[in-house]
Amino acid sequence: MAAMGFVARRAGHGLGQFFGTFILTGFTIALTLGVFGGFLLLQLNLEKLLRGWGDQIQLTAYLAPTIGPAELEALLANLKRYPEIERVHYTTQEQAWRDFQSALGAQSGLLDGLPRNVLPASVDITLRPDFRDHTAMEQLAERLKRQKELTQIDYPQQWVEKLALVIAALQWIKWLVAGALFLAAFFIVTRMVKLAVLARRQEIEVLQLIGATETLIQAPLAIEGLLQGLLGSGGALALLWGVYRLLRDDAAGLSGLIPALSRMEFLDGLSVALILSIGATLGLSASLFALRGMVRSWKVSHPAR
């Protein structure tokens, strides 16, 4: 109990005595974790944007002109039972004509003279998110082609392939960049903490001379490192929140260039917890790492002669 009180008092004393260094190191951690968190924020929103684009990927199945109302109803009911299919949207021949006309706009006069049933009726099929990849789409298209009511199946093959590739690449880049940023943060913070610990070399030496154990010397510095890490990661989150609000509320006037900014999302709870725990781990491990070689360890040497 006395030892715990001693450790707490030494930690408090250290914070008071080296408050400037404490704040400076916390600021360094905040900046490095801010870059790390900024990347997480970017990655999160980019992935959300890409998955949003994925929602627009659909298969279009064109219906045979001979299909009757009863067959159509049965076909739609059947399609809704496919595990890959999220929803279907039926477009009549008339609707297809109107859509085409509207798409042509001022050039719609080109359609004059053509029969209004020249375009086939179709079904737009939206897939569930788990099946929005090239393989699943291809397999579903093959199965649909075997239905006699459907004459042709279209889907944006290249677009699906590229989107899948970009999302996969983003996942890999996330871990590579996150790893590199973590190493850089660890390197910077360790050096910073080492400087702070160096200023206390004499204190460590005296503590060892008067019989303090390694634990008693390291514990207050470890607590200070932990608090530094939490302060830094808290600062990084505050910084990110500020940047997020700035972008989302369009204070920088960027929404004209990047419309998706207004739909930006902040880091989820898991990412916030990740940054806080990285900060705490970083501060703690950097302190202990910096103490290496400064706190002497005695080992039992060779047996007595």
């Binding site: 009180g5 001693f6 008067i210 005695w298 039992v300």
Partner: protein, 229 residues
């Protein structure tokens, strides 16, 4: 209490600080280690508080070989040994009272008990009025008295002092001498390494003279007949 058995200490193959040291120091002795710079006095003290290890031979403290001590045991040893240095080794950011109490707290005393013991010692050493002064505002003599108080706060069985009067003027050196004499009255073993042979000879029960890492004389203190090895 302390035994050196054929102790050799080399800092490098060609740098032999101590050579075949055989020495036994009993409880309650006040031993003066004398000799020129580089004779091995400080190394001999460092071997006792396990700052360095012998290259060969054994150093025993109360029958235990110090080589068998791990980190926790070394810390325990140092809590039983009071150390006094020429350069005082006080923490500049702590007051006189806090510097002394720190050693008691490290040994497991509660904050209150540590402060009370530190206050008692400051009173005994005539420094009660300087309790809240930081080392920078204390004279050299006062700093050394605070360092001695810190060495005494855990009621050690042994005091090791390395050139304790090296930075002091004559008056302060005499005051330190008086302190050691008082401490010796409590049956505490004291080993002092010092150039100030004439000064410490007055109170030493034994004088061990070192030359180039070897013991060349071991005699009783003041008035005793000296014998050379």
């Amino acid at each position: 209490m302390i035994q050196f058995q054929h102790v050799e200490k080399r800092y490098a193959p060609a740098l032999c600080a101590l050579n075949d040291i055989n020495l036994e120091i009993g409880t309650g002795e006040l031993v003066l280690l004398s000799g020129a710079n580089g004779a091995g006095k400080s190394t001999l003290l460092k071997l006792i508080y396990r700052e360095v290890e012998p290259s060969s031979g054994s150093v025993l403290f109360e029958g235990q070989n110090l080589k068998s001590f791990d980190g926790r045991a070394v810390a325990g040893l140092r809590r039983r040994v009071g150390l006094v240095f020429q350069e005082f080794k006080l923490l500049a950011n702590l007051t006189a009272l806090e510097n002394i109490a720190l050693a008691a707290e490290v040994a497991g005393a509660t904050q209150n008990a540590a402060r009370n013991r530190a206050l008692d010692l400051l009173r005994d050493l005539g420094l009660a009025s300087r309790r809240d002064a930081k080392p920078g505002s204390l004279s050299s003599g006062e700093q050394q008295r605070v360092a001695v108080a810190r060495a005494l706060v855990n009621r050690p069985a042994l005091i090791l002092a390395d050139e304790p009067t090296g930075n002091l003027d004559d008056a302060a050196a005499r005051e330190t001498l008086r302190l050691f004499k008082d401490i010796q009255q409590t049956d505490t073993t004291i080993v002092v390494a010092s150039h100030a042979v004439d000064l410490f000879k007055e109170i030493a029960t034994r004088v061990v003279q070192l030359e180039q890492g070897r013991i060349v004389a071991d005699s009783s203190g003041s008035g005793a007949v000296e014998w050379r090895l």
